[in-house]
Symmetry: C2
Amino acid sequence: MSSIAHELAKKQKEISVSEFFEKNKQILGFDSLTRALITSVKEAVDNSLDACEDAGVLPDIIVQVEKIENNEYRVTVEDNGPGIVKKQVPNVFARLLYGSRFHTRAQRRGQQGIGVSAVVMYGQLTTGKATKVKSRISDEDVAYECELILDTKKNRPDIISEDFVIWDKPHGTRFQVHVKGKYITGKQSIFEYLKGVAIVNPHAKITFIPPEGNTIVFERASENVPPPTKEVMPHPEGVELGEMLSMAKYTESLKMTSFLNTEFSRISYRVAREICELAGVPPELRPDKLTLEQAGAILEAIKKVKIMAPETDCLSPIGETLIRKGLKNVLGDVKADFYAPPITREPRVFAGNPFIVEVGIVYGGQLNKEESVQILRFANRVPLMYQQGACAITQGIESVDWRRYGLEQRGGQGIPFGPAIIMVHVASTKIPFTSESKEAIANVPEIREEIELALKACARRLKTHLNKAAKRSKTRVKFEIVQEIIPMIAQKTAKIVGKPVPDLAGTITKIMNVVWVDDEVRFEKGRHHISVKMYNYTPKSQSLHLHMLVPFDKIDQKTLKQQPLEVRDGNKVTWDIKRLSSAATLEHTFQLHGVPQDQYVENEIYVSGIDPASIIGVEVLPGDWDLEHLRITEEKEVETPEEGEEAEVDYDEGKEAISDEE
Amino acid sequence: MSSIAHELAKKQKEISVSEFFEKNKQILGFDSLTRALITSVKEAVDNSLDACEDAGVLPDIIVQVEKIENNEYRVTVEDNGPGIVKKQVPNVFARLLYGSRFHTRAQRRGQQGIGVSAVVMYGQLTTGKATKVKSRISDEDVAYECELILDTKKNRPDIISEDFVIWDKPHGTRFQVHVKGKYITGKQSIFEYLKGVAIVNPHAKITFIPPEGNTIVFERASENVPPPTKEVMPHPEGVELGEMLSMAKYTESLKMTSFLNTEFSRISYRVAREICELAGVPPELRPDKLTLEQAGAILEAIKKVKIMAPETDCLSPIGETLIRKGLKNVLGDVKADFYAPPITREPRVFAGNPFIVEVGIVYGGQLNKEESVQILRFANRVPLMYQQGACAITQGIESVDWRRYGLEQRGGQGIPFGPAIIMVHVASTKIPFTSESKEAIANVPEIREEIELALKACARRLKTHLNKAAKRSKTRVKFEIVQEIIPMIAQKTAKIVGKPVPDLAGTITKIMNVVWVDDEVRFEKGRHHISVKMYNYTPKSQSLHLHMLVPFDKIDQKTLKQQPLEVRDGNKVTWDIKRLSSAATLEHTFQLHGVPQDQYVENEIYVSGIDPASIIGVEVLPGDWDLEHLRITEEKEVETPEEGEEAEVDYDEGKEAISDEE
């Protein structure tokens, strides 16, 4: 028995990080040949985009994939970034766990210091060939070029050859690797990945030269580099006890208050003193003397003190317009019925890292009704292509009861079925990926919760649309029945009894006894054509106020027959509709000009000054044009526990765990 | 611009592997509080089981979870393994990427050298407390005890305190860590995990002391340590070019032939010479002189030469009995209808690593018809609890068209619905997990393909059962209709016309004109009661041969009324049924003794010597009792492209990619 312990001891040894990943290349995204090729492109492109943004350059990236033989491909990615200084080139490209962004709390694509070196390692493992890198920084006359391999036993770069060469590019980096892979087109392809990148990075120009066929250029859609996201200190929410102790041990601050103030975001000196007082820790205490108990008390105090939400300038959400655009791009020629106005949530924090969740949904039209909804996932403006099932985004979608929002879903969980695309973007100073391949976001309770809230908020907008559509179609059916069948009955009866057909207008209005409002938006020749028809199917004449949420300054006044009674805040417009006679119809029309098509997709109409019981097809104005208030109520609804079942979301750890960590 | 390159260069630095994982603890399985607690238990238990098996000891493991305060728990795992020598204790428990099993090609639970040290790191990060380890090896009089933390800046153990103490255990290890977590019961709980472990490791005794409630003991169900799995050399299939070059560079062999023979499994000297010849590489070549081109040629030659399948003694599948037992255990008091005989596939290879896939399916009875099927995943005898969606097992299940096998599934993909549990075990000398948390198997084409083939093979067995059940129920309905309605019509008609009710036996037989065979198995008081009823619903007397697949030596001869005509291979039994008169019924019964209930769940019956058109409820014997042959045909079917649609499984990389890598 003891000899076994000694024998086992002999086998115990250190594993170099590169040996580890060489044997576990699937963790890095090299589990199959197609994925390996996409991963190779992806890591290099992510690096190029980050470099350009660091330097405030509009990215101009060229991606080339060439077939060498059988399964061997050569991938070349060239950018116009700031370039890399000679000394760092080997480390950046051929050393795992080496990088500039790991210790930084800022929204970047790369954060691990693994990506592109992993590609170099995979390339040499599968083809036996070295990687070629060329880089030029703007104050050098020549570019530095070298051939690299990664010495996996030591995790250090091995420079096979190096030289200075002429390169007409003023600055930039060119990366060229041979890898074993498989090139495909269609779903989960390099093309799809680059398209996704182009959509959410409209400031980037991406040129793709595929192994076969024509070069594809994704042109720049915007000339503005997104405002640079700032580095931030950790937000105090969710910082762990051991982390606090370790930070206190290594800080340069000499007092607890200055430590708290300088090493965390959103802690002013006043708040720092308040925290110390509440925790019973002397504000003058040297941080490196902080005991375990005191650190615990500080964390408890942080939970009780009111601390501002995190800064938002460290984050770069995609925004409503790009979400819509993204969805439209994915749809291509397929027409959809309805774009639910996208949701961008307020920033929240997990483990000290601010993050924002955004959701967009598109529905109906030519989208396939018989399939699962399509899910589009993005993290820090990078499309996520693989590992869908492992991702908190997918798990969030699966745990929403979509039946409430008009999609089919067996048992109220799982990916719903129906003609819809759901797009979710998570932006954070640190995306907690489930693995080094960065394809799925881990099921961190705070993030998961935000995803679900954002999904539900957007889903409610979808639901409102579907309800409206359903209501309208019901009303229409009822009208058609009444208007077709009653005259038929009258005719038949008249014929049988041999009498003339009676005038039915009065009968129909008596049966219906409502004012019906039916509206429509058409987009034609760059203009929105808006029509609101009011049918008075009551026995007497009716008056009402018609309220619409519409940008008044965009209404072409020539097309507006009736001037409004009132315009508030530029877009709350009220018309006075007077004496609509019994059985009469009034069509209220106008046109909008200069509004992008997708900025006005549905009329938002309310009425007032009429008995709510006798109006259909439209909602009665709740309060006095207090739509702002309306909105806020809707948002609030999300977070109040009133929504009973929805609050009891079944996370892996249940609701309690989430509040535990807040 | 250039200043940016220099500024970025300043930020470039090395990241220690422990810093990396400290900031990415979700990768290690610490993404939520419940999962963190389970992961802590799991890593320690996996280590204990591996240690016991290394030493050939029957494992006796005690797991205790105590609630300290709020979210803080103390986890203690104690085993009776061989113990760890003093010098190695700190490295084993407080250093990432350090271990004995990483460089070994053998089926083990731990392979990464990360697990338990990650728990130590997570514990200190979240509670600020050190981990306590006690270990005794059998030739020492005392145990070594120490308190450890992991210095994350250096990835080295820090010994806080150490001592030699008296421990009445002759050998073993005790691990105690404080972690932030959340204890739950039910699904995805520590209890469920330990139950899973106990099921597939019947030789282990596991005692669980939960924070509240009674101690639970999973008693040992077998006194045999599973035969130790052997370490093997890589199988030449799927070895990468770069890997081959690197092996050739570092080998001690002086000739290519001896290199190939000693560093790979299944390459004899003869085969090695054949490979060299085919590759045009001199057999006498010094391996370290091997060029890139020559290495490529060697790999091409390996694909062409016939090389034996991998050894199986390096793998330890669960086996049919334990799969059944496992499923039964999961069911608990819930009764199921049918256990499809489990499938254990032949070993295959990915990237030089042998692996085996096993599948079991249980169906019907009290299992919920309205929910998705339940999936049980195991890898190297460890239950996988999280990340179901990321796992090749789940993806395999999702891409099988279960509608063909009697389960509901919208669109023929996704997790099917229906009253079933599907259990899949993958055993390998190296499980390619998607991340360091070891909860999901990566979508490696070779493994994915085997999983699907195993699922389909097992599903076909389910389908056979369901077909039989459906056929029988149809036949029964038809009989009931004929036997109830015809007499009713006769009576009614007789009454109306005022005549006596005629004898209907002749009429019914004329209408039916078949021999109906209906069989049953009941298990009562330790015995199988088997009954085969034959109804002759034809106008004349019939004779036939009745064939059953039944272990003849287990038939209680006292219960067998009619001796068989013939018994082949001990279990192919044929009876001669003579002159069954028209409208007569014959019941053929006997009992089995000494057969475990789940070893005989359904009769396998065939008939011959009768017109196939006039027999229902049973199949006609295909060929002359050539059931072996039947089986082989069934297996073959799986791999032939005849199954059209099934062959076109939509892997991430398509079918082609798979054959590429083979």
